[in-house]
Subunit: 132 residues, 2 copies
Amino acid sequence: MEECSMFRPNFEKGGGLIRAVAQDAVSLTVLMDAYMNEEAFNETVRTGQVVYFSRSKGKLWRKGEESGNMQIVRDIRVNCYTDSTLILAEQVGGAACHEGYPTCYYRHLANGELVLIEERVFDPSLIYKKGE
Amino acid sequence: MEECSMFRPNFEKGGGLIRAVAQDAVSLTVLMDAYMNEEAFNETVRTGQVVYFSRSKGKLWRKGEESGNMQIVRDIRVNCYTDSTLILAEQVGGAACHEGYPTCYYRHLANGELVLIEERVFDPSLIYKKGE
């Protein structure tokens, strides 16, 4: 019998998924949040680059595979319920968001309306193929 | 007919819930992540204190109502899909986690094992009633 103390997140609680918050390891800016299934989590650990699970596409989403804006893992933190991870990462290209902004949280709420607080780093129409 | 341009997050996508990441407004430490339903989001905006929705208890969860460790809203940011918010907050009591740690991400992954990286601020057995 082999002893196994390796950490495994609680995927059952979220129907096979855990949450993953990506934070810039240097500036501490929160870049985005998304989901990982077990394969995405294992691939993130194995490759050192962040891999999410795309719920809309139903498959692994290797962050930056199309835009080149991958996220290099610096540290992986785990929450109290082991159903969420905080990934400290280096954001290649300076833009985490598919809309071309540095982070996905590029708007804030002001008097009940959404107001832009970041500037675009790239034009998404030049990066992504139509329909993606 | 009344014109309504007020922002409303996309609750439908997450089955009535959006994700909410809380970040310390000063240190930029990520404190926790959880969920909000529409009532929790509206109460967060209205009261200026973070209110989540507890999936396990099936009801509003006014952060700090029992421990006193509430989160005072400094800014609310919204992601590209409007299905996740980033709440910049002041963490009263210096501890966001019900386990007594400053953040819920008090462990990190080292060689496949979970290693403690924060120190307890309070003893949860002295704060929470049994079974909560």
